[in-house]
């Protein structure tokens, strides 16, 4: 539908507030913070002019919501980890890109809208990512929600719409996904020094996913999303969606240089800071037959069919 945009890099970062608010309370949280800092520096040294965030901690219902407030200001507090402190923020958003992204979504059949309201509750994951990756608001950002009902086709099309808008405006983007790997936390309070991945199974799967990431096999991870959902994701939502969106936005292939900068436990969940940089070579041993989707046609009205 459009020219390939220039993707400077992709980052996969965890949504928990610990690396921002409590990096000194646990060595692992500190290492995640260090990894965020490395990414921040690399972004600064790049010629990127847009940071686009897809956050799994911003759920939406009416289609896909896109943050378009030019300067959102508020103080955010996490629902679970409020005792770690408050997160005051003032961000700088790329309103032009947000509007273009919405138009591109609509052109591909998606329901979408921009939000631009004083006091809108920007989610924990986005706040953490923007405060750590872009602390001086040097680069304008944009955030897109994760629709609770959406599934693969919608995520793929959403990623393509994000690309369309980048191409149209000539943006050089850092693509950021805010998501855990395994997302089961401990359900009781733990001493920070005793944090660990919730189970060996979660840990094993996380390490397998990280192996793929470090080999740059983004499309392979995308294709394994349903398996990942079944194995290491608490069924909060219908699917593990971030890799679908990330691959679709960055390019559905395995031509990336992957680097895992940190992998640690966050109250039991798997938190990783990963960088993917587009490259020439490809790796992998898989081909897939799940259809690529260009345009979203909406629900297929399965529930309504055959009703008495």
């Amino acid at each position: 539908m459009s020219e390939d945009p220039e993707i400077v890099m992709g980052l996969y970062v965890p949504p928990h507030p610990h690396p921002l608010l409590a990096p000194d309370q646990n060595e692992g949280w500190g290492r995640l913070r260090d990894a965020f800092d490395v990414c921040r520096q690399r972004i600064e040294e790049s010629d990127a002019d847009l940071i686009l965030i897809y956050s799994t901690t911003w759920p939406s219902i009416v289609g896909h919501q896109i943050q378009a407030h030019p300067k959102p200001v508020f103080t955010h507090v996490d629902d679970d980890f409020h005792f770690l402190g408050s997160m005051p923020y003032e961000f700088s958003m790329d309103t032009e890109y947000a509007n273009e992204f919405r138009d591109a979504c609509e052109a591909r059949g998606l329901q979408s809208r921009t939000v631009s309201y004083d006091g809108f509750p920007i989610d924990t994951g986005s706040v953490v990512a923007l405060k750590l990756l872009n602390p001086d608001n040097r680069i304008p950002a944009c955030i897109v929600s994760s629709n609770v009902y959406s599934n693969r086709a919608e995520q793929i099309v959403l990623g393509k719409a994000a690309r369309d808008a980048m191409s149209k405006l000539g943006r050089k983007a850092v693509v950021v996904v805010v998501a855990s790997l395994s997302n089961r936390m401990f359900t009781e309070y733990i001493d920070p020094s005793e944090d660990r991945i919730h189970s060996p199974k979660d840990d094993e799967w996380n390490r397998k996913i990280l192996e793929f990431f470090s080999d740059g096999r983004l499309e392979d991870i995308s294709q394994l999303s349903r398996e990942i959902q079944g194995q290491v994701r608490v069924s909060k939502v219908v699917a593990y969606k971030p890799a679908w969106w990330m691959a679709s936005t960055m390019g559905q292939h395995n031509n990336y240089d992957g680097e895992v900068l940190a992998y640690e436990a966050l109250h039991g969940a798997g938190g990783a800071v990963i960088q993917l940089t587009p490259s020439a070579g490809s790796i992998g041993d898989k081909e897939f037959d799940e259809d690529d989707v260009e345009y979203y046609h909406g629900d297929r009205d399965v529930l309504g069919k055959g009703a008495i």
Binding site: D80, S86, Y117, R184, T187, E188
Partner: protein, 320 residues
């Protein structure tokens, strides 16, 4: 101990007369919180303007609010699925929260300036009793915390004067982490603990389970959200489940309804998955008397019923 009473006559000052009366639950309400109903009311606290809408629910809420005015109570205690906690159950622990609440899903409808007073003493007592019962708990003491919009919508519709303190209890996500059955068990334990705390407090308390019944939304919104020609239930099976639940409420079959709730949640994505109804019914001893039904209507496809359980037989009514 002997003393001289006000009349001057010799009397016995029984120590029991100084003991606080046992606290009680004076009403339990199922109070759904789609921000649409506050939006449609156009209260001065809310920024957007509406031409109305969802009258079946709003008029039901008005009637319930009138009933509440006739009841002597100290505090409203709400369990809300929009304060979601994975690590334990949390309780509001500061006396006042002044802020703007912007709905993350429907920011076009709900940007509400609020000034909420909290009964911290009661909140702490509930937290202690819950901990005593083995439930993981936490008091929320961060002054920058934003009270969730579920609490605000339900409490505003029931008491638009905001002249009573509230307590908000978070929704532990045991449905996601375990199963609907585990949620039912844990919410039951929480309800029983909360009852103990209320009895100890000596206070008269209104409980609020803030949620819808069936909970599948349309993912599109009418250009004018209050255009009632566009409003209907998501599909017929949601409606049938909602009617089944309301019928059981009318018949006072709350034990039975809570027993089949896991199935209803599975089938209709019912927002009772957050534990509100189970918690409230457990605290009230699984009422076997009829609920007062105040209204039922869909909001962006979800099924919403307003119902109340009045333990006082003399004031209990047949509303609808």
């Amino acid at each position: 101990m002997k003393a001289t009473g006000p009349s001057g006559r010799f009397s016995l000052d029984w120590s029991v007369s100084r003991v606080m009366a046992k606290g009680e639950i004076v009403l339990g309400c199922l109070a759904p919180h789609p921000p649409h109903v506050v939006y449609a009311e156009n209260p001065e606290q809310n920024e957007p303007f509406a031409e109305g809408g969802w009258e079946a629910l709003r008029w039901g809420y008005h009637r319930l609010a009138r009933k509440l005015k006739t009841i002597d109570y100290d505090c409203i205690v709400t369990l809300t699925p929009h304060w979601q906690t994975y690590v334990g159950t949390h309780f509001l622990g500061l006396e006042r929260f002044q802020n703007i609440s912007v709905d993350p899903i429907f920011p076009n409808l709900f940007r509400f300036h609020h000034d909420i007073k909290v009964d911290v003493e009661l909140s702490e007592l509930m937290c202690e009793e819950a901990a005593e019962a083995g439930i993981v708990t936490k008091m929320m003491r961060n002054p920058d915390f934003r009270v969730d919009y579920g609490t605000i919508v339900s409490c505003h519709m029931m008491n638009p004067d905001w002249d009573k303190p509230v307590v908000t209890i978070s929704s532990n996500r045991s449905t996601h982490y375990y199963s609907n059955e585990v949620m039912n068990d844990q919410a039951t334990a929480l309800g029983e603990a909360v009852l103990k705390a209320i009895e100890k407090s000596g206070k008269k308390v209104v409980l609020v389970a803030s949620h819808s019944l069936s909970h599948r939304h349309f993912v599109t919104e009418a250009p004018l959200p209050e255009d009632m020609s566009r409003e209907h239930i998501y599909n017929h099976s949601q409606y049938v489940w909602d009617m089944k639940a309301i019928d059981m409420m009318r018949k006072g079959e709350m034990r039975e309804l809570i027993d089949i709730l896991p199935e209803m949640i599975e089938q209709t994505m019912a927002e009772a998955e957050g534990g509100g109804l189970t918690w409230m019914m457990a605290a009230m001893g699984m009422p076997d008397y009829p609920a007062e039904i105040y209204g039922y209507q869909s909001v962006i496809g979800t099924g919403n019923a307003i119902a109340a359980w009045d333990p006082n037989e003399t004031t209990r009514e047949i509303v609808l």
